[in-house]
């Protein structure tokens, strides 16, 4: 007779974005079903947007996410610029390059943040500390060029708000130069470590067919062998003028997702370096006054995948409809297939592998359904995950000795 246990994970920590609640149905060690409940922090931003004028909305959508806080305003201004004729025709070249720089710096800090937390969940606290240590200089660069470590306030319809000073360029280049050995280290630490491989290879697999069915995007899709990237497919910013690669893996497991994100950091560094070398001189703002009647779609490749905004304007100074779809909205739903069939000690890392917010996996409780007695909290589940790694470490040590 199977003994089914319900494991609720979540719901949320108000300081972080994207709270989620995962209810795992467990038989023994195996996850047999999952319920995903979201909406704990739904702020009605689409509705709020209808009451703000076009310039204010860029600030509003910046606050959707604290990690990819340039992706939402970027997608939004692209949607409005789509009504006006497109970024390419409208926005001064210098502004386009600076937008690209901010977009890629953001990808680096987001991927480092994910790498650190993923390391923590599987018991690699050194990876956690070091990933976040190397994220700091990236945030310092943001502070230098935008004035803020997060929520940069750079994007505006028709351009950007702040220029990059010439003196900042050498600091940016130096930071990137110092970042490369750090990414090399993470690459080595993850790709050559037998314990990490044993922990992540073949775990939380999302096959290509499942990825297509769930319409997932970004690194989650690219790790499952789907060759998509908005930066190349529907070019915006300066990406089509630059030389860079799309990182693809085909196994769809957590290891593949990790590899995609680590290697993408190299590409981001390449992109920023080229932007800094090619940075044209000139205006940074097209000084747009009115938004005509029309509808527009803006898409950017956020660190987690395609972020799409739809704007409908009736010629007044406010949008009459603003639809926002963040990448995690598609990716999180795919946990339904990623986590089911796996073990409970892999659940934290599997649910975290699509790079949703971590708040969800911090608040965990294990409840035995029939008697409601046994209760584990979030830390217990992370410990369970870390213990599994430790056991593997011991085994590999014995094997090696």
């Amino acid at each position: 007779m199977s003994h089914r246990v319900i494991v609720p994970i979540g719901p949320y920590h108000p300081l972080q974005e994207e709270p989620e609640f995962f209810q795992l149905y467990v038989e023994g060690e195996r996850v047999v079903d999952i319920d995903i409940i979201i909406g704990y922090n739904h702020r009605g931003i689409e509705k709020l947007s209808e009451s703000k004028h076009f310039d204010q909305v860029a600030f509003l959508v910046e606050r959707i996410c604290g990690i990819c806080s340039s992706s939402h305003p970027y997608a939004y201004v692209l949607a409005v610029e789509d009504i006006l004729g497109g970024e390419e025709k409208l926005v001064p070249e210098r502004a386009v390059y600076i937008r690209t720089i901010v977009d890629e710096l953001q990808r680096i800090h987001s991927h480092l943040l994910w790498l650190g937390l993923a390391g923590h969940f599987i018991g690699y606290n050194t990876v956690w500390m070091w990933a976040w240590k190397y994220r700091e200089p990236v945030l310092d660069c943001f502070e230098m060029i935008t004035g803020n470590r997060n929520n940069y306030g750079m994007l505006k319809i028709g351009g950007i708000r702040r220029d990059i000073k010439d003196a900042d360029i050498s600091v940016l280049k130096k930071t990137l130069d110092e970042l490369v050995p750090a990414v090399d280290m993470f690459k080595g630490a993850v790709m050559d470590d037998p314990v990490i491989k044993a922990r992540l290879v073949g775990v939380g697999v999302l096959t290509k067919e499942q990825a297509i069915d769930y319409c997932v995007v970004g690194p989650t899709a690219r790790a499952s062998g789907i060759n998509i990237d908005v930066r190349r497919d529907d070019p915006y910013g300066a990406y089509s003028n630059l030389d860079w690669n799309i990182i693809m893996e085909k196994d769809g497991d957590i290891f593949a997702k990790t590899v995609v994100r680590i290697l993408e950091m190299y590409e981001s560094i390449r992109i920023i370096r080229q932007c800094l070398d090619k940075l044209p001189r000139g205006a940074i703002d097209a000084d747009i006054k009115d938004i005509p009647v029309g509808e527009g779609i803006g898409r950017v490749e956020a660190p987690r995948g395609e972020c799409i905004h739809y704007i409908k304007s009736d010629g007044t100074n406010r949008p009459i409809r603003h639809k926002i779809r963040a990448p995690s909205f598609m990716n999180v739903a795919s946990n339904k297939v990623g986590a089911v069939g796996g073990t409970i000690s892999d659940a934290t890392i599997t649910l975290a592998a699509v790079d949703p917010c971590y708040c969800c996996t911090e608040r965990v409780a294990v409840i035995n359904k029939p008697d409601n007695k046994k209760i584990m909290n979030g830390w217990d589940l992370i410990k369970l995950s870390q213990e599994k790694t430790n056991k593997l470490r011991e085994r590999f040590k014995d094997g090696g000795a």
């Binding site: 979201i38 909406g39 739904h42 009605g44 689409e46 509705k47 789509d82 497109g86 297509i212 069915d213 769930y214 319409c215 997932v216 060759n227 998509i228 908005v230 497919d233 529907d234 070019p235 029309g294 509808e295 527009g296 779609i297 898409r299 395609e306 799409i308 739809y310 409908k312 009459i320 409809r321 639809k323 779809r325 909205f329 598609m330 739903a333 339904k336």
Partner: protein, 142 residues
Amino acid sequence: MDMIEKIKEGLGVRIVSWEEHSPRRIYITVKKEDIFEVSRFLFKELGLRFSTASGIDTPLAFEIIYHFSDDASGAVYSLRVMLSDKLHPEVDSLAPIFAGAEWVEREIWEMLGINFKNHPNLKRLLLAEDWPQGDYPLRQGK
């Protein structure tokens, strides 16, 4: 044969109107009876990716725009459906074709009060359980 021709040929008379706002932004209006079959064709036969759907409350009808992305060309094909019965807006669910539609339709259902026929799991996604029944936040006049 490029994607535009394939779509035009595949949809044939089911195209009510075809607007190209720009080379990569194409809006196609279809009848609500046809949306299931048209979406199935775009997703399964032509391999387009479902990006999302936007529900809009307009004075005369509820409008749903299904955004399909052709990642090979970077174009977004937006299928527009008008639901003119404003009292009982209803349309076929696309979730039986692809799982990615499930959450998107749940969101439109709770925010605009549009019913999706044959949806496997039509329940609240974002709104709280104690949010009043029949109160749809994204309807105009709210």
